[in-house]
Structures are given as structure tokens and as C-alpha cells.
């Protein structure tokens, strides 16, 4: 029984991590008033870049860095179009998703060729934390994961601290709630928004790297498979707060992990209904089991400096 729970929770954390990583970044974008539908495309870019980086430089960390860098570039396009040109954020996000799919599919073929087995590359292997990993239940769940899971868990409190306890965080939130007021007190709205979008780019890239190098060790076309959208849901469900996003990601991860195990136990429920579980859970979550989730007031609106 203990094994069962341990395995379930370990699977939950593995599945939740890419959603969490992307969600942490998206919290920053959202708090500054940017709705980033393009996280999916940025993650996909990150997923390919990570594999390429690891393939070229022989190190998973190099892969992760390249992933963050590539997604950062994409997020700059997003930032430029939505902040400077004031284009509709949803539309640009959609374009980023299409672009991500097209670019990664094309370049994966240019770099790795068609119909060859994926090359052996360095990936993130589970690292057992000494002593702690021996604790029953918690040990295997929390302390026998790969480095990126630890990174994600460590970043949550830091991201929370920066957002709610520092000057920078205050500026970000001010820009998202009332850009005009923020502007009058001397905050550079554009700069704050650019910065926030870049943060979401960096983390989306890292989340993509986690999918291709943390969960797996190769790239396949469209492998992010909707996790970017789930991350967006996690942000809202988590009330635009990194700690909340952690809870939300773990809930979605639990839905997935449950679905896997139900199918493996040979239940009679058609598997399609099990596949729906995480999405239904998301909707139920958004409907306010945890109270209303209030979006920043200037969410989705371009700012025009008078």
C-alpha cells in the first residue's frame, strides 16, 4: 500500500514539474498584465533546443541553457508584438504556438535527419539526495528526482518572495493592476512588462527542456502535447501566485497519474473518459473550488503611454 502511494506521488511530481516550471514564469507575465497563450510554442521550442544543446555540447545542462535561450528569443518576439506594437495577446500567442510547431518540426529534421533513431544524449538523471532520500514515502517522492524537479521546487518560494516581498515584485503587480498609475509614479511599464514576458520565456524553455531531457531523452514532434495550456490553467487556478501554481500543478499531475494507474489496472471504463480526467479537473478547479481567482485588472490590455 505504501509503495502504491509512493509510486503515485512520485509520478505526480514528475508529471507536475513541466506544468509548474512553465506556470512560475507565466505567473510573472500574468501579474504584469500579459496573457501568454504562446507558452505551448515556447515549451516546444525549448524541448527541441534542449535536445540539440545536449547533442552538440554533450551536457544536459547545456541543453537546458540553450532551451532557455531559444525560448527567450521567442518570448522577445511575443513581447515586442504585444507590448510595443500592442497587438492582441491571444492572437500573437496563437501565432507563437503555430510557429513553435513549424520551427521545431522543420529543424528537428534538418538537424537529426529523417527516420534515424534518436541519438544517445546526456539527459537529467534522478539524483538521490543523501539521507533524505531514505525517508519512507517522502524520500522517494521528493528526493529521488532529477535536478530540474529540485530546481522547480526551490524556485517556487524564491519566485513568491520576489513577487510579494520585494520592490521589483511590487512594480510588476502595479503594472498589471493599474499601469497608468504605475506610470505616473515613475515605473517604466514597458520595461517591466518586457522583463516579465522574458521571465515566462525563460521558464517555458526550461519546462520544455524538462519534457525532452527530464522526462525523456529525445525530441518528438509536438511532444509538449498541451502542457503549455495546462500551465496557463495552473496559473489561474493557483490565483496568480507561484505557491498556488505549485498546488495546481500537483493537482493536475495527480489527475494524470491517476488516469495512468486506472488504465493499467484494467478498468472497464473506456480509456477516453480517463484521458478526459485532467481536463475536467481543470475546469472544475477554475470553477472555484478554491474560491474566486481574480485576474489582474489590466490583464490582456496593451498599455499606451500618453
Amino acid at each position: 500500500m505504501l509503495d502504491l502511494i509512493t509510486n503515485f506521488l512520485a509520478s505526480d511530481f514528475r508529471t507536475a514539474t513541466p506544468i509548474l516550471l512553465a506556470a512560475i514564469g507565466l505567473v510573472y507575465g500574468q501579474r504584469a498584465g500579459i496573457v501568454n497563450i504562446g507558452a505551448e510554442g515556447m515549451m516546444l521550442t525549448g524541448a527541441l533546443a534542449a535536445v540539440v544543446g545536449s547533442f552538440w555540447f554533450g551536457s544536459a545542462w547545456a541543453g537546458a541553457l540553450l532551451a532557455m535561450f531559444s525560448a527567450l528569443l521567442i518570448s522577445l518576439i511575443f513581447a515586442y508584438l504585444t507590448i510595443s506594437v500592442r497587438a492582441d495577446q491571444v492572437v500573437v500567442g496563437t501565432a507563437i504556438n503555430i510557429l513553435g510547431l513549424g520551427l521545431t518540426t522543420s529543424f528537428a529534421r534538418v538537424i537529426f535527419g529523417v527516420n534515424t533513431a534518436p541519438p544517445k544524449i546526456d539527459a537529467f538523471e534522478p539524483i538521490a539526495v543523501p539521507v533524505l532520500s531514505k525517508i519512507p514515502l517522502i524520500g522517494p517522492v521528493l528526493f529521488q528526482q532529477n535536478a530540474l524537479v529540485y530546481v522547480a521546487l526551490i524556485v517556487v518560494p524564491i519566485a513568491y518572495f520576489i513577487l510579494f516581498k520585494t520592490d521589483i515584485g511590487l512594480k510588476i503587480r502595479a503594472v498589471g493592476e493599474h499601469p497608468k498609475a504605475a506610470d505616473t509614479v515613475g515605473i517604466n511599464v514597458y520595461r517591466v512588462r518586457y522583463g516579465s514576458v522574458m521571465v515566462s520565456g525563460l521558464f517555458s524553455g526550461l519546462a520544455g527542456a524538462y519534457v525532452s531531457l527530464g522526462l525523456l531523452s529525445f525530441f518528438t514532434e509536438n511532444m509538449v502535447a498541451g502542457r503549455g495550456f495546462i500551465a496557463l490553467a495552473a496559473v489561474i487556478f493557483g490565483k496568480y501566485n507561484p505557491v498556488g501554481a505549485l498546488g495546481a500543478s500537483l493537482l493536475f499531475g495527480a489527475g494524470e497519474a491517476l488516469q495512468y494507474r486506472l488504465q493499467a489496472s484494467g478498468t472497464d471504463i473506456p480509456f477516453q473518459f480517463l484521458l478526459m480526467v485532467p481536463y475536467i479537473l481543470t475546469i472544475l478547479a477554475l470553477c472555484g473550488f478554491v474560491g474566486k481567482s481574480q485576474a489582474p485588472a489590466a490583464s490582456g490590455q496593451p498599455y499606451v503611454k500618453e
Partner: protein, 365 residues
């Protein structure tokens, strides 16, 4: 005054040309950048684009195919645009499309013995209602629980596709049941072909009527006017005593209905069966179509045709020039980005105007 008016016509025509020149420039720029990607893949961009044109406009059949692909894009474009006009983001056209296809198939397959002029409209209406209800659900979740439609519509997409997958492998599977597909739609519910030798079907006409309806509803009816006011300024609408909830529900129902018609016209006009994954992302392309068309009826028509050209030309491009379909995704994304990017010119223009005012100069617009 009269003199001024006559000048205005010429001015306006010029303005219209100008407003089109940016999208055109965007398309051309996207194609040029796309050419570099094709080059990077070691392929010939010239031959690729020749085949793109040939495959989409090179013969009657090619044009027919282009319009076959335009049809669902018009519907999903209308779907996004209508919701947008009411201030809502409908990212759920894909799911609504599937639910529309599902409702239309049920009517088209299981009701038998009706004449075509009863059965076909019935199937289309069912498709509209199917998509509409799925859209309505998202609107209801927003109004009742405050769940953002931005996310719920995306989640509903996944639920709808899994639901279809369940149906065609389970209850709706064609007997004796080897293949995951429904039985064939009754002939009396199929959209007839309208040009011999092509697959172009009556769905296109339905889509054009849809565009007409879109225009009439939003600009010629009181309730459409309210929908637009709610979309532009919900506070003002509330102040004016408009019922925001009702307008949002109605807008999402019609928007979902349009997407539902995209699914029904695909099933009733092209595929004649229900399959899993029968839509190659028409739902999301609709967003781009609505954007390029600036949420206007004519704009959506033109943008729908453009994306139809890209889609049907892509097949020939892949076949003859061996360019993978992924390149077309890149081009589509670039078209969108350049179009929204060209808004920069307007911003720059305004900056110049502001600067001119600051200098105390005279202004013409």
C-alpha cells in the same frame, strides 16, 4: 460639402488600398522568410512556391479544393470574430467543431427516410446546436463560476476530441465494427457538390450565408448592436441597462454554432462519416482568419480564402517539391505576426501626429 464628398471617394479608395497593402506586404514578407527556411532544409523554394500556387489555384479542381478548405475556415473565423466582438475569447472552436460534427452525424446517420430538403437542413441545424451548446457551456461557466473562457474553451477542446474518439470506437462504430468510424451519412443529409469534377460542396454557400448573417446580426439588429457595445465597453453597456450576461451567452452560443457548422459541413460535405481527429486544426486557424480579417465579414472571407490557398497548396508543395507541411505552419505564423506587427506603422504615425501637435503644427486627420 458636395465637392468634399467627391474627393472623399477617391481618398477612401486610396485608403482602402493602403489598408490592404499592409496585409499583402505581410504575406509577401512571410513567404520570403519561409523561402529561407526551405533553403535551410536543402530544398528549392521557387519550385515549392510554384507548386503552392499550382496546387491551390492552378486548375478548376485546385480552386475547388482551395474553397473546400476555405469553407470550415470561414466558419471558425466567424466563430472567433463573433465572440471577440462581444469581448470574449473563444479558443474552443476546435471542440465546438467536433461537437457540431457529432450532432450533425447523429441526425445524418440515424434519422432515415426524410427528403433532402428536410433532412439536410435538420442535420445542419443539429450541427449548429451541438457546437452552440459547447460554446454556451464555456460562457455559462464564466458567468456562473467566473472560470475564464480562455482556459475552459481549450479544456473543452480536449474533452470533445476524446469524446469523439470514444464514440467512433464505441457506440457509434459502424457495424460490423472493424474500423473506428461511424456509418455513412444518409445521402439525404449529405451536402451536394456544386461544381462537377471537384469536391466543392454546398457548405461553401452555407458559409457565405453565415457571413451575411454575421453582418446582419451585428450591424443590423438591436441585439447585435448590444453585443458589440458589451464587447467594446462593458461598463457603458451596463450603465445603459444592457444585460451583459444574456449577451455573452448568446454570443458564445452563436460563435459555437458557427464552429459547429464548420464540423457539420466537413462531415456532411467532405467526409460523409464521423472519424476521430477529422479536423486538421481548423479551429485554431480560425483565430488567424478572424485576425487577418479584422473581425469584419469581407475581411474574414478574404482571409479564409488565403488560408485555404495555403492549406491546399501545401499538399502539392509537399508532393512535388518535398517540402514538409511544417513549413506552411511557419509561413502561417509569420503572416499573423507581420500583420499584427504592421500595426506599428499606425503607432508611429500617431507618434508623429502627437509630435506635430506638440509643435503646434496643423493637422489633417
Amino acid at each position: 460639402m458636395a465637392k468634399r464628398n467627391s474627393v472623399n471617394v477617391v481618398d477612401k479608395l486610396g485608403e482602402g488600398l493602403k489598408s490592404l497593402s499592409l496585409p499583402l506586404l505581410s504575406i509577401i514578407s512571410a513567404l520570403i522568410l519561409g523561402a529561407f527556411v526551405i533553403l535551410a532544409m536543402g530544398l528549392d523554394p521557387l519550385s515549392a512556391y510554384q507548386n503552392l500556387i499550382k496546387g491551390s489555384l492552378g486548375s478548376v479542381n485546385a480552386i475547388g479544393e482551395t474553397l473546400v478548405k476555405t469553407t470550415p475556415l470561414l466558419f471558425t473565423g466567424l466563430s472567433y470574430a463573433l465572440a471577440r466582438r462581444c469581448g470574449l475569447f473563444n479558443l474552443g472552436a476546435e471542440g465546438q467543431l467536433y461537437m457540431g460534427g457529432f450532432f450533425a452525424s447523429v441526425v445524418g446517420i440515424y434519422i432515415k427516410g426524410l427528403p433532402i430538403f428536410v433532412h439536410l437542413p435538420l442535420a445542419l441545424i443539429a450541427g449548429f446546436i451541438g457546437g452552440g451548446l459547447w460554446g454556451l457551456l464555456a460562457a455559462w461557466l464564466k458567468l456562473k463560476f467566473g472560470a475564464s473562457e480562455l482556459i475552459t474553451t481549450i479544456m473543452l477542446n480536449y474533452i470533445a476530441t476524446h469524446w469523439i474518439s470514444y464514440l467512433v470506437t464505441g457506440p457509434m462504430k459502424e457495424p460490423p465494427g472493424d474500423f473506428p468510424q461511424s456509418a455513412q451519412i444518409e445521402i439525404s443529409a449529405q451536402l451536394p457538390r456544386i461544381v462537377a469534377g471537384t469536391r466543392l460542396h454546398l457548405g461553401l454557400i452555407v458559409a457565405l450565408i453565415g457571413i451575411g448573417f454575421f453582418y446582419w446580426f451585428l450591424w443590423k439588429t438591436t441585439i447585435g448592436y448590444e453585443v458589440r457595445v458589451v464587447g467594446e465597453n462593458s461598463e457603458a453597456a451596463q450603465y445603459a441597462g444592457m444585460n451583459i450576461s444574456r449577451n455573452a451567452l448568446l454570443a458564445m452560443f452563436i460563435a459555437g454554432g458557427f464552429a459547429g457548422l464548420a464540423g457539420s459541413s466537413e462531415i456532411l460535405g467532405v467526409q460523409q462519416r464521423l472519424f476521430q481527429n477529422f479536423s486538421p486544426n481548423y479551429g485554431f486557424d480560425g483565430i488567424a482568419v478572424a485576425l487577418l480579417g479584422q473581425n469584419t465579414p469581407i475581411g474574414i472571407l478574404l482571409a479564409g480564402i488565403l488560408f485555404g490557398i495555403l492549406r491546399s497548396g501545401a499538399n502539392m508543395m509537399q508532393m512535388a517539391a518535398k517540402v514538409p507541411i511544417a513549413v506552411i505552419y511557419i509561413i502561417q505564423a509569420l503572416v499573423i505576426m507581420f500583420v499584427v506587427g504592421s500595426n506599428l506603422f499606425n503607432i508611429l504615425k500617431r507618434k508623429r501626429i502627437v509630435a506635430a501637435i506638440a509643435k503646434g503644427g496643423k493637422l489633417e486627420c
